[in-house]
C-alpha cells in the first residue's frame, strides 16, 4: 500500500485528505507543521508528500527545499490562492505538481496517480507508448497509429522532454532553458509556436489537445490520456 504524507496546518483539510485518500486505498499520515512534517518524512520515507505552502512555523517553500535535499519521491503542492509566482517557484524547486484550494477530489486523485506512476517509469526505457502515440528513443522515431511522423530536431527534443516527464507540470522557463538555453528564458513566443507545431503533428484535434495540456500562466503538462 502506497503511503502518503500530508503536511497542512488546517485540521479540516487534513481530515478531508485522510478520508479521501484512505478510501482510495492509500495509507495516510498527516502533520500540521513543517518541522513535524520533515521529521515524519525522514522516518517514514513516504511514497508521496502533499505539502501546503502556507504553514505556521516555516514557509512551505523552505520545507520543500529541505525535503528536496534528500527526498526523491513526488511532492504535490497545495496553494490557497492562484498565485502563479508561488506555484512556479515551487515547481522550479522540485515540486512535481500543484493544486489550488479549493480543489475537486477527482482532480486530486488523478494528480496523485499520475505522479506515482511517472515515478515508477524507468528512465531508460527505449520505447514510450501513449495510446496511439509511440516514441522510439533508440531509433529516434515517432509514430502515430504506426505511421511515422517527422519532426525537426527542436520539435523532437521538446516532445521527448515533455513525454519523459509525463504527468508533471514543466514551467515555461524550465522548458525554454532545457531546449533553447539560458538566453531564451522568458521568450515565451518560441515555446508557444513550437507547442502549437507539436500539437498539429500529434494531436487528433490541435484545438482540443489530449497529450500536451496547458497549465495557464505556469507551463505545460504531458498526459497519457488515461
Amino acid at each position: 500500500m502506497k503511503e502518503i504524507l500530508v503536511i497542512d496546518d488546517e485540521i479540516q483539510i487534513r481530515r478531508l485528505l485522510e478520508i479521501t485518500l484512505q478510501s482510495s486505498g492509500y495509507k495516510v499520515i498527516s502533520q500540521a507543521t513543517g518541522l513535524q512534517g520533515l521529521e515524519t518524512a525522514a522516518n517514514h520515507q513516504p511514497d508521496l508528500i502533499i505539502l501546503d505552502l502556507g504553514l505556521p512555523d516555516e514557509s512551505g517553500h523552505s520545507v520543500l527545499e529541505k525535503l528536496r535535499e534528500w527526498y526523491i519521491n513526488p511532492i504535490l503542492i497545495l496553494s490557497v490562492q492562484k498565485n502563479e509566482k508561488d506555484i512556479i517557484r515551487s515547481l522550479d524547486r522540485g515540486a512535481n505538481d500543484y493544486l489550488v484550494k479549493p480543489f475537486r477530489t477527482g482532480e486530486l486523485l488523478a494528480r496523485i496517480r499520475s505522479a506515482l506512476r511517472s515515478n515508477t517509469q524507468a528512465e531508460n526505457t527505449p520505447l514510450i507508448q501513449f495510446k496511439e502515440l509511440q516514441i522510439d528513443l533508440a531509433a529516434r522515431t515517432v509514430t502515430i497509429n504506426k505511421e511515422t511522423v517527422r519532426f525537426t530536431a527542436t520539435q523532437y527534443a521538446l516532445l521527448i522532454l515533455l513525454a519523459r516527464n509525463e504527468g508533471k507540470v514543466l514551467t515555461y522557463d524550465y522548458l525554454l532553458k532545457e531546449i533553447w538555453g539560458d538566453a531564451y528564458i522568458g521568450q515565451l513566443e518560441y515555446l508557444r509556436v513550437y507547442i502549437a507545431q507539436l500539437r498539429n503533428k500529434i494531436e487528433k484535434d490541435a484545438n482540443h489537445p489530449a497529450y500536451i495540456i496547458t497549465e495557464p500562466k505556469v507551463g505545460y503538462r504531458f498526459v497519457s490520456g488515461e
Binding site: 492562484k82 502563479e84 479549493p102 515565451l188 513566443e189 508557444r192 509556436v193 507547442i195 502549437a196 507545431q197 490541435a206 484545438n207 482540443h208 489537445p209 496547458t214 495557464p216 500562466k217
Partner: protein
C-alpha cells in the same frame, strides 16, 4: 480667469450699450448691466462677482449717468439712483451665488442618499446570495449528520450534491468579489505575455465542460492566428464570465459561439448566443457593478460583466453588447495588442 471673464462680460455688454446709447436711457443700461451681473453670479465665485458689481457701477456712472464721461453725479435723484444701483448689484451678485451654493449642497446630499440606497441594495443582495448556499450547506449536512432511518440513499445523494453545488457557487462568488476588489483598488497588474488564443479558448471551455454539455458550442477561430500579447489569466476570466453567463441565462440547447479574429489594432473576440438577448435600456447598465437583470433570478451577484469590462479595459480594449436579430446576444471585445506570426 474668472476675474478676466467677468470683466470682459461687463465691458462687452457696456460697449454694446454704449453704441446704442442713443436708443437706451441710463436706466435701461442699468437694468442690462444688472442682468449681466446675475448671469455672472450663476457661474463664478463670490469675489469675481463682487468685483464685477463694483466695475459695472463705475462704468455705469462714468459712461452713462449724466453728466457722462466723469464720475461726478448731477442731481440728488441720480445720486440715489447710483447708490441704489450699487446696492442692487451687490445683493443680486451675492444672492445668485448663494442660490447656486445651496443647489450644490442639495445635489451632493441627494447623491449621498442615492449611494446609501444603492449600498443597502447591494448589501442585501450580497448577503442573500451568500446566505442561500450557506443555508443549503448547513441544512443538508445537519440532515446527513442526524442520519434519520427514513432518509433513503437517493435522498442522501441529493443532499450531498446540494452541498457540493452550494460550495462551488460560494467559491465563485468569493472569486468574483476578489477580482472586483482587485480591480477597484487598482492593484491589478496586467502581466502580458504571448498567448495562443485557441489554447485559451480551450482552457475555458474545459473549465465549463459540465455547464456547456447542455449547449451547442461552436468555436470559430481563424486558421494561423498569430500569438497575441495579453494577460492570459485576465482574458481567460473575461471569456469564462461571458460563457458562464451564456450557460446560465440562455435556455438549454441554445447555441453559443466563440470566434477569434485578427484586426488591425489587435484581437477581436466575439461571444454570441441565440437566447433571449437583453432588454433595451439595460445594455449599458449590465456592465455596472452589482447590476442584475430582474429576469436573472438567483445565483449571481452582478459582478461578472463588470469584471469583464474592467479586465478588458485594463488592456485598453472595449466591450460592446448588441442584440442579434432575430434573437440572442452578441459581445464584441476588441483589444489593441501586438501580434507574433510564427
Amino acid at each position: 480667469m474668472q476675474f478676466l471673464l467677468s470683466g470682459l462680460a461687463i465691458g462687452g455688454v457696456s460697449l454694446v450699450a454704449f453704441l446704442f446709447s442713443a436708443y437706451i436711457g441710463q436706466e435701461g443700461v442699468a437694468f442690462i448691466l444688472l442682468v449681466t451681473l446675475s448671469v455672472i453670479g450663476m457661474f463664478f465665485d463670490i469675489v469675481p462677482v463682487l468685483v464685477a458689481a463694483v466695475l459695472s457701477a463705475l462704468i455705469w456712472d462714468y459712461f452713462f449717468l449724466l453728466p457722462r464721461f466723469n464720475f461726478r453725479v448731477g442731481n440728488t435723484e441720480d445720486k440715489i439712483m447710483l447708490s441704489m444701483y450699487f446696492i442692487i448689484a451687490l445683493v443680486s451678485g451675492v444672492l445668485t451665488f448663494k442660490i447656486r451654493q445651496h443647489e450644490m449642497i442639495a445635489r451632493t446630499q441627494q447623491e449621498q442618499e442615492k449611494t446609501l440606497v444603492l449600498y443597502d441594495a447591494v448589501l442585501n443582495s450580497l448577503s442573500h446570495e451568500f446566505r442561500t448556499p450557506i443555508a443549503a450547506i448547513i441544512g443538508a449536512s445537519d440532515n446527513l449528520i442526524a442520519d434519520q432511518p427514513l432518509l433513503s440513499p437517493s435522498d442522501r445523494k441529493d443532499l450531498l450534491s446540494e452541498i457540493s453545488k452550494a460550495a462551488i457557487r460560494l467559491n465563485q462568488q468569493v472569486e468574483n468579489l476578489l477580482d472586483m476588489s482587485r480591480l477597484e483598488s487598482g492593484i491589478i497588474a496586467v502581466k502580458k505575455d504571448w498567448c495562443d488564443i485557441s489554447e485559451l479558448i480551450y482552457t475555458v471551455t474545459l473549465r465549463l465542460e459540465n455547464e456547456l454539455k447542455h449547449f451547442e458550442l461552436k468555436v470559430d477561430t481563424a486558421n494561423n492566428l498569430p500569438l497575441f500579447m495579453l494577460d492570459y489569466g485576465l482574458i481567460e476570466q473575461v471569456l469564462f464570465n461571458l460563457l458562464q453567463n451564456a450557460t446560465r441565462y440562455t435556455p438549454e440547447g441554445s447555441s453559443i459561439r466563440i470566434s477569434a479574429n485578427v484586426t488591425d489594432p489587435g484581437l477581436q473576440l466575439i461571444v454570441t448566443d441565440d437566447g433571449h438577448g437583453f432588454p433595451q435600456g439595460s445594455m449599458q447598465k449590465v456592465f455596472e457593478k452589482f447590476y442584475r437583470l430582474e429576469s436573472s433570478g438567483t445565483g449571481g451577484i452582478g459582478l461578472g460583466l463588470s469584471i469583464v469590462k474592467g479586465f478588458v479595459e485594463s488592456h485598453r480594449g472595449t466591450v460592446i453588447l448588441e442584440n442579434q436579430s432575430p434573437r440572442g446576444a452578441k459581445f464584441i471585445i476588441e483589444i489593441p495588442t501586438d501580434k507574433y506570426y510564427a
